[in-house]
């Protein structure tokens, strides 16, 4: 077999996200990187996983890589295609989703996300798409995984707008709030970036879990807008296997459109 080209940082991100899905059953998935991570997981660590697409599709079997969340290829051959009312009411709010994937323009140390505006809401510097299903996914999916590239512009001390709630002011209040407001989920569990993998400590604050091969702790800390919590021991993210890279490069994203 020929030499395998070393993993790019996007590939490291996708592989780390896929591995985080080990053993998960039902995943609420969007397009782009999460879609590739999820499909990689199905071919490796989570073959039994069922995919729910926001557009109203359960058990999709896409025969090509969908550009949009509502591509016809996710409908043909799916197990069930349902109305948005059923999708958000019965599947998501009904508590059938184990893992939801979210990203955003900004994230804070508690995993709160902004996908609405940069700047002032009434007079934004940049108008972003907004919530879509993100706000209810953050609240109702049993667990949230975040995939986004990190930089001081995206990992910020203060969000310009809180679209989707994370661990709020720390897990203690958050947990209480979730109970009394009847939230279905327990919030963000993992954040995967192009440089590292993060988890959340008991108090709901983000904490470094592992650094990708080739990245340094200085680089990681230098691209985060708050004083990052770093444990004494920070392992290196296990490198992608040759097979994981082959699946991404040959099957999931042959044209390199996403990764």
């Amino acid at each position: 077999m020929s030499e395998t080209k070393p993993a790019s940082r996007n590939e490291l991100m996708v592989v780390a996200a896929a591995r985080a899905l080990q053993g998960k059953r039902v995943c609420f998935v969007g397009v782009g990187l999460p879609n590739i991570a999820v499909n990689l997981a199905k071919r490796t660590v989570a073959p039994q996983m069922e995919l729910v697409y926001e557009a109203g599709v359960f058990g999709a079997k896409p025969s090509r890589l969908p550009l949009s969340i509502g591509d016809p290829t996710i409908v043909t051959g799916s197990i069930a295609t349902v109305s948005m009312h059923d999708l958000f009411g019965l599947y998501l709010q009904g508590g059938r989703i184990d893992v939801g994937f979210l990203g955003g323009a900004q994230i804070d140390k508690y995993g709160n996300l902004n996908t609405t505006v940069i700047g002032d809401y009434a007079a934004p510097k940049t108008r972003l798409p907004g919530s879509g299903g993100a706000c209810e996914i953050a609240i109702n999916a049993k667990e949230i995984m975040v995939i986004m590239r990190q930089s001081t512009r995206s990992f910020v001390k203060e969000l310009d707008f809180r679209t989707s709630p994370g661990h709020l002011g720390g897990a203690v209040d958050a947990a209480a709030l979730r109970r009394e407001q009847g939230w279905g989920g327990s919030g963000p569990s993992v954040v995967v970036t192009d440089l590292a993998v993060y988890g959340f400590d008991a108090d709901g604050e983000m904490s470094l879990r592992s650094i990708h091969p080739g990245a340094t702790l200085d680089e990681v800390k230098g691209s985060i807008g708050w004083e990052l919590r770093v444990p004494a021991e920070v392992p290196e993210t296990p490198a992608p296997t040759v097979e994981e890279l082959r699946l991404i490069r040959e099957e999931l994203d042959p044209t390199g459109a996403y990764v």
């Binding site: 557009a55 550009l67 949009s68 509502g70 007079a123 907004g130 879509g132 709630p165 407001q181």
Partner: protein, 302 residues
């Protein structure tokens, strides 16, 4: 289509051209632009290219939505130029914005369709959305288990729904992504159903579970092949992803956007001319191979 829009869409109306990625009636949107409707409140979960084009053409004063983007591509630039003060052209004013989440928008149509004063849902807790949209409120459960969030009913003046087929009476059948077509239609004061094919009522009656909207709530039926392009119709034609990408380039520039509207909207009298302008071969490339559903038996009970 000309008659349907002239009769049912008026200046100042609240208009919902629904369809989640699938079955978006671009044909109706373009006819509304040609008829130069003004001060419309445009409601859609995902405004998509059609509302970007209608905003660029000056039809809209307000947007009601839950996700404002070019799906799979990026931003809706014409709308951004009307929402970001720095990008606002001289003489233009900012669009009014009324923003929800997907479940919230669906819920607004459901409440409107069911004639309910509100739709309760589990969303918005600890989000900033209710602080910028005072119509997102809390309601107390009568069973002593606390508060839950609510959105108000949305009853558009007119809903425009594209689908695979309908009969002459406007009994509409659809498959593939259903979005909130049914809920928007039942919620609306007037309904325009646009279809790829007009079929005999016997086709509808052969599979009554496939009917999503009864003629009972439909005011006009329009036969408009390829009426959803560059959106798609399951089984009939593919989404024109190339055009969705192309629009990203066009719409970044106001002049290019205006030029496109001149050529592809004002420059053609109707959808048939728009389709002819692309040429038959263009749509052949967008036509999928067949994937039949198979038939089920309802049984003949005498």
């Amino acid at each position: 289509m000309r008659e349907a829009i002239a009769a049912h869409v008026h200046d100042g109306d609240t208009v919902a051209i629904e369809g989640f990625t699938h079955c978006i009636s671009f044909a109706a949107g373009h006819e509304i632009i040609r008829q130069r409707r003004r001060n419309l409140t445009l409601a859609r979960m995902t405004p998509d290219l059609i509302y970007d084009q209608m905003v660029a053409a000056g039809c809209a004063k307000k947007l009601i939505f839950s996700w404002l983007g070019n799906p799979g591509v990026g931003s809706l630039h014409a709308i951004r130029r009307r929402t970001e003060p720095a990008a606002l052209a001289a003489g233009e004013v900012l669009l009014e914005i009324e923003e929800y989440s997907h479940h919230g928008m669906v819920g607004r149509y459901v409440a409107g369709a069911h004639r309910l004063p509100f739709y309760p849902l589990r969303s918005y807790s600890e989000s900033d959305l209710p602080t910028v949209n005072p119509l997102i409120r809390q309601v107390e459960s009568p069973y002593g288990d606390g508060k839950i969030w609510a959105v108000p009913p949305l009853n558009p003046d007119v809903a425009i729904i594209h689908a695979q087929r309908a009969d002459e009476e406007g009994n509409v059948q659809a498959w593939g992504l259903l979005g909130c077509q049914k809920e928007a239609a039942f919620a609306a004061k007037r309904v325009i159903a646009v279809v790829e094919e007009i079929v005999p009522v016997s086709v509808v009656r052969a599979d009554p579970n496939r009917t999503i909207i009864p003629g009972l709530v439909v005011d006009a039926v329009v036969h408009e092949p390829y009426g959803a392009h560059p959106s798609y119709v399951q089984g009939a034609y593919d989404r024109d992803n190339a055009f969705y990408r192309e629009w990203d380039t066009i719409s970044r520039d106001a002049a290019a956007t205006e030029a496109w509207l001149q050529e592809w909207v004002y420059g053609v009298p109707d959808r048939a001319a728009y389709v002819a302008k692309f040429g038959a071969e263009y749509f052949t490339r967008l036509t999928p191979m067949s994937a039949p559903s198979g038939s089920v038996d309802y049984g003949d009970y005498r």
